[in-house]
Amino acid sequence: MSDLMKDPLILRQIIMDHYEYPRNHHLTEDEHYHKAHMASESCIDDITVMAKIEDNIVKDVCFDGVACTISTASTSIMTELLIGKTVEEAEAIVKEYYKMIELLPFDEEVLQEAIAFHQVGKQANRIKCATIGFKAIEECIKEHKHE
């Protein structure tokens, strides 16, 4: 495991940064986007993710909503990770992320900043927060494939 991942200060910094300055934090009226609305049961996290997928490429991902630090930061990181990837690459990243959440071995290279959440799986009550954005993009991809 890389040194980076051992340093909570750096990991915390990543999360703080994405929470305070979330990337791609807006929605669009553009009809070419797929849309997934995720409202968790706890009544708080309520996030909408939108994605434009064309020519098998994830052209754009954006999101908005009310959420805790973990949901906001993980969704923000997700958008950055996935934009520009092919659908297959995107799916692979999501899969790798879930592996990490389940505390299984995973590919650090692929997940980049998302490794900030590598220990979140130990806290069962935060898994939902850390995966809400990934679940949403999965839905968008699924919808795209059904077209």
Binding site: H37, A39, S40, E41, S42, D46, A124, N125, K128
Partner: protein, 410 residues
């Protein structure tokens, strides 16, 4: 190996009965069942170890109890061979049956549509449809029963037609205990484009339920008739159907959001049907009940209950003064009258011998037109009953007279 004496040790009330000199013979299992210790423990454990509300991940206890609650949904799903998001927790079979009548009726029933049912249905399954029918100007039709009160594939075929949109039927009637050929009926109903709503209150505890194999559309049942707590039941529904209908209840927990203009965004099934704090400890108790049933196994349950029934029937049919209404049924329900004795008097006479059975029309009031008697005595068996208990009721029924019944009040 099934050993009734060992099984009886699991039920505090039976254990107590075994130790007391006064007989306590419980033969009213169709009304509700006794509870094994493991169910009682599951309920108590909620109070002593969890005691918090569900669906809040904010603290550990709540997370744990929510998780436990959702695990019960999985247990129920695999028990009836459904998918987990097709299992809605309700307050009981009656609540489930009302939910589906409202939800499906409101959305899909049109003027002149027909709801097909039978005259042996329980009030909780048929009355909600009376209301739908009157609101929507639809009508109720009944599959004609055979002389001994059965539904056959033949009769059912004749009763089906293109206007029938919904079939509401008990898998096992609580009055006569016949097991209907639900898979075959469902296939016929579907071929006419009707959906099938099964009242499983009496069947789920006694025979293996296979919702996917049978292809039924909805199934309702209660925990308390399957060795679990009162206050909780299940509505199974095919996911797309659940998704398409409106919930009966609205409130906290079932909506994702709403605004001051009255716009409500509901959650997905099954959650959209579960407004308000549910019967948490009862749900956890239901899990223990299912695990208990599975530890006995349906093979043993069906075999034992059938043996007891056969034993009972073989003796009772010798008595000239006893009229048996369903000698050929296969479930553990035996319906009879002592000729010339109102059922309530007879039941109270049996009570004087420590025997508990149910007198009345069993909430299936329209069946009486078929049986030609205003009420009956219903004996309903469970695997924890014994031959000795059957002997006790056989003896009591052998000697019953109207005079003896009346003399109890002096």
């Amino acid at each position: 190996m099934f050993e009734v004496n060992k099984v009886r040790q699991d039920f505090p009330l039976l254990k107590k009965a075994g130790e007391s000199s006064k007989p306590l013979i419980y033969l009213d299992n169709a009304a509700t069942t006794l509870k094994p210790q493991s169910v009682i423990d599951a309920v108590t454990r909620y109070y002593t170890d969890y005691s918090v509300n569900i669906h809040r991940g904010d603290y550990d206890l709540s997370y744990q109890v929510s998780d436990y609650y959702e695990k019960t949904r999985k247990t129920v799903a695999s028990f009836i061979q459904a998918d987990v998001n097709e299992v809605v927790f309700t307050a009981g079979a009656s609540a489930s049956l009302n939910l589906v009548a409202y939800g499906y009726g409101e959305k899909y029933i049109q003027e002149n549509d027909v709801i097909l049912s039978t005259e042996s249905e329980h009030a909780s399954s048929i009355l909600p449809w009376f209301r739908v029918a009157s609101q929507k100007k639809a009508s109720i039709e009944y599959v004609p029963l055979t002389e001994d009160g059965q539904i056959t594939i033949e009769n059912f075929k004749h009763a089906m037609h293109a206007k029938v949109k919904v079939v509401v039927i008990a898998h096992i009637s609580n009055v006569l205990g016949y097991v209907v050929p639900i898979k075959e009926l469902t296939e016929i109903a579907h071929s006419f484009g009707a959906i099938v709503i099964v009242d499983g209150a009496q069947s789920v505890p006694h025979i293996q339920t296979r919702v996917k194999d049978w292809d039924i559309d909805f199934l309702a049942f209660s925990a308390h008739k399957m060795y679990g707590p009162t206050g909780v039941g299940v509505l199974y529904g095919k996911y797309q159907l659940l998704d398409s209908i409106e919930p009966y209840y609205l409130g906290g927990g079932s909506n994702a959001r709403f605004d001051r203009c009255g716009n409500i965004t509901l959650k997905n099934p099954p959650y959209k049907f579960e407004a308000g704090t549910p019967a948490i400890e009862a749900v956890l108790g239901l899990k223990a009940a299912i695990e208990y049933i599975e530890s006995i196994g349906f093979d043993a349950i069906e075999k034992v209950e059938h043996e007891l029934r056969t034993y009972l029937i073989n003796h009772l049919k010798e008595f000239k003064h006893i009229k048996l209404y369903n000698p050929d049924a296969t479930s553990g329900i035996v319906t009879l009258n002592a000729i010339g004795i109102p059922s309530q008097d007879a039941a109270i006479y049996l009570n004087s011998k420590g025997i508990m059975v149910r007198a009345g029309n069993h909430c299936a009031k329209i069946l009486l037109d078929v049986l030609k008697t205003p009420d009956t005595i219903r004996i309903s068996l469970s695997f924890y009953n014994t031959k000795e208990e059957c002997d006790a009721i056989i003896e009591a029924l052998r000697e019953i007279t109207l005079e003896k019944c009346i003399d109890l009040i002096f």
